[in-house]
């Protein structure tokens, strides 16, 4: 029996011209996405946005990045960028979609057909939802030093250790983890990539409340947790290469101009309410930020063009993440400054009969320069790989 992956596509999206495709996607989002869920100030839980993504699943749009053979939309890189841009433009918050973004592509590249048939249909149906277990308390920027260990016992791995900064682990069903399977090998060479059901006995989750007051992050503890040996992805001790292969397309999305653009919109609303839109000092600061976003957009399109032409992105793409996230932070700072005494108020604030969450951009902007490889690590990479500066 052949496994059915997702639902068939209505048409060959790549045969459409870009504008026609964009119009179809935009119309779908604008007509159907709940207004109340646009641009949320925090990550949403499945009970809040699950309805929308189940609708996307039923339509066959849940996995725009997957090939049609495995139930995806089969979009070319250029069409995929359009899809993601439209999603961001309409303020559609992602769900914890690591199953779509990471597990799917990894299984297609490194998995067995058995693994694909077992996992992909359930990801497409949103029955399985995935989070990522990489960081540990003592392994942040130095991820390869991770110590959570997995020992083969018969046809199962037994996992012991701890992951941290796991996003929405309590809102999903599965986790993929990097674990140490050879303690004696050089640190990158002793790591494996494992798939784990979060309902397994021995897993304990502790939510971590963040400085904005939200509970999106968590710690995941593993105490003699058993997962089938058949859940090993890629070769034993080959997990580092599997994990690195996921860094391709995401690197450009982390530097998209959408977050700073959202920040500018909030800034304009706050400035209008505060009556500073004509203040010459504010005008100069605002124009400088407007131009930073416009020029970020120019260089983003330079890289997007490379992706669209199917070219490999070079290490220089790291500049997008650095500039975009730090620009978002500068915008968030000016929002607070412009709000004056209201800059210390949390949640939705009434100023000049508008409701504005003044601190939301500020708090959203904090982790952006930390996750996905901190900006300091990105600068190290650029210094060595692009600027060819010497190592000490």
């Amino acid at each position: 029996m052949t496994v059915q992956f997702g639902v068939p596509q209505e048409r060959d999206w790549n045969a459409l011209d870009d504008d026609a495709f964009r119009a179809i996607v935009r119309a779908e989002f604008e007509e159907n996405y709940p207004q109340s869920l646009r641009f949320p100030p925090r990550r949403l839980f499945w009970r809040e946005n699950g309805g929308w993504f189940r609708r996307m699943a039923a339509k066959g749009w849940i996995a725009p990045n997957w090939p049609t053979q495995y139930g995806g939309m089969g979009l070319s890189p250029a069409k995929l960028l359009i899809f993601l841009e439209e999603q961001e433009r309409w303020g559609i918050a992602r769900f914890q979609d690591h199953g779509i973004v990471m597990v799917g592509p990894v299984l297609m590249r490194y998995g067995t057909e058995e693994q694909r048939e077992r996992f992909l249909p359930r990801i497409l149906a949103c029955e399985d939802r995935w989070c990522q277990g990489y960081s540990e308390p003592n392994s942040g920027s130095d991820l390869a030093s991770l110590r959570t260990e997995a020992r083969l016992d018969g046809d199962e791995f037994v996992i012991n250790g701890q992951k941290i900064w796991t996003t929405l682990s309590f809102d999903v069903t599965h986790i993929f983890v990097l674990v140490r399977t050879d303690a004696d090998a050089p640190k990158q060479k002793g790591i494996s990539f494992l798939l784990v059901d979060l309902a397994s006995p021995g897993i304990r989750i502790r939510p971590i409340k963040d400085i904005a007051g939200h509970e999106e992050l968590s710690e995941v503890f593993f105490d003699d947790v058993r997962t089938p040996a058949a859940n090993l992805v890629g070769p034993l001790n080959g997990g580092w290469s599997v994990a690195k292969s996921l860094l391709g397309f995401e690197r450009i999305m982390l530097g998209s101009p959408k977050m700073p653009e959202y920040g500018l919109q909030v800034l304009r609303s706050v400035a209008a309410a505060a009556g500073t839109l004509d203040d010459p000092l504010f005008v100069d600061k605002m124009a400088a930020l407007d131009l930073d976003v416009a020029h970020l957009s120019d260089i983003y399109h330079h890289f997007a063009g490379q992706v669209a032409r199917g070219e490999e992105l070079g290490p220089d793409v790291s500049l997008l993440k650095i500039f975009s996230t730090e620009l978002f932070q500068r915008i968030a700072d000016l929002i607070i400054e412009t709000a004056g005494p209201a800059g210390g108020l949390g949640g939705d604030v009434t100023i000049d009969r508008r409701f504005i969450n003044i601190l939301a951009p500020f708090f959203k902007a904090r982790p952006a320069s930390i996750y996905g490889g901190s900006n300091e690590i990105q600068r190290n990479i650029l210094a060595k790989q692009v600027l060819e500066l010497p190592t000490s």
Partner: protein, 377 residues
């Protein structure tokens, strides 16, 4: 990039590489122009890039002109390529009757006629871009009076002068020898000189009027926009060369027994400068494409041109100043050569309006774009 553009860029790069001492010699010769270099630039056809084919030019756009300027910037060439080949040419292209000016356009393109545009007043404050010269009717004749400053090149044979007439402006052609025209020289940071033009009761022949009213305004705006973008490209070239020199120095200069480029504090600083150069390069390339797009509105072209100049001026200033710091004392020595790039960027950044002036212009031009973008945050 298509093959023609690659060839143009490579030719310009080779031209600049073959003349490593040009910037220093130009400055030290203490002359307003270098006629030999100018003739060679003209022979390359670069002054004809914006001139239509009907007038013997190449009829190309801002993008190829920007590629040439970027290479000239990499050598800190002080020659008035943008002032003549872009600003003056583009102003003449906006003439109400282009046929009348074809001979002069051809002469400019061949490097035989040096023309400059005089459009700024003598103020250094916020009203710098209003014409400083007024025209009035006296006994049926047009009489000009006033001042214009920062006119490049100071050695021009003729000037295209922006004149306030009633509510609008007109553009007039004035030869250098016109009675009543006085030129004072001001020395710029890079060793070039600007003319401070004083116009005292100059009676002007109506045949010397290039354009008036809306046509004159549009001609001047288009000329300034093109000159802004191509100057920004020149700044990109200058900043990139300062950055290249700095990175090479970080790789080779040793202190405490190691290359100083291995220090993380310096690496991160260098990366931030490099990011600013990449942004400036992308902004200028995108702006050039907008100027070459006949479907783009003049307001949009003006906005992106100002945006490009604001970015390039700011980035060039940052990179060239920090290049000195990263080199240490040797960077401050004239003989080392970084100073040529810093001084060239100081002059180009201020010319045609600095970063702050262009942020203001950008802000004014884009004000209406944001009316519908407010969201319930």
């Amino acid at each position: 990039m298509d093959e023609t553009l690659v060839m143009l860029r490579d030719t310009a790069a080779a031209f600049v590489r073959a003349r490593p001492d040009h910037a220093r010699q130009f400055r030290d010769a203490n002359r307003a122009t270098d006629p030999q270099a100018w003739r060679q630039i003209a022979e390359q056809g670069w002054l004809a890039i914006m001139v239509p084919e009907a007038a013997g030019g190449l009829g190309l756009g801002v993008t190829p002109a920007a590629l040439v300027a970027e290479e000239l910037g990499r050598g800190a060439f002080p020659d008035p390529y943008v002032a003549v080949g872009i600003l003056a040419v583009q102003a003449l292209l906006g003439a109400e009757d282009p046929d009348l000016w074809q001979d002069r356009l051809a002469a400019i393109a061949q490097g035989e006629l040096l023309a400059a545009v005089a459009w700024q007043n003598s103020a250094v404050g916020s009203s710098w871009d209003m014409p400083g010269i007024r025209g009035r009717e006296v006994d049926g004749q047009t009489v000009l009076e006033g001042e214009s400053r920062f006119v490049v090149p100071s050695a021009a044979d003729a000037f295209i002068v922006s004149v306030q007439e009633g509510e609008g402006i007109s553009l007039y052609w004035l030869d250098r020898a016109t009675a009543g025209l006085t030129l004072r020289m001001e020395l710029a940071a890079d060793g070039t000189s600007y003319a401070w033009m004083i116009v005292d009761n100059v009676i002007v022949d109506p045949a010397r009027r290039i354009a008036t009213g809306a046509a004159a305004r549009e001609a001047l705006d288009r000329a300034i926009n093109a000159a802004l973008v191509v100057t920004s490209a020149e700044l990109v070239g200058a900043m990139s060369q300062a950055l290249v020199m700095t990175l090479e120095y970080l790789r080779t200069r040793k202190q405490f027994g190691v290359a100083i480029g291995s220090f993380q504090a310096l690496q991160h600083k260098a990366v931030d400068l490099w990011i600013q150069w990449r942004l400036a390069e992308a902004a200028v390339g995108a702006a050039a494409r907008v100027l070459d797009d006949p479907a783009a509105s003049l307001a949009r072209q003006s906005a992106v041109a100002s945006g490009a100049k604001a970015r390039a001026a700011q980035a060039a200033h940052l990179i060239c100043s920090q290049a000195i710091q990263l080199h240490g004392a040797i960077g401050y020595a004239d003989e080392y050569g970084l100073g040529l790039f810093l001084n060239r960027t100081l002059a180009l950044s201020a010319w045609l309006g600095n970063a702050s002036a262009h942020r203001r212009r950008y802000s004014q031009l884009t004000r209406g774009d944001h009316d519908s973008t407010e969201i319930a945050a």
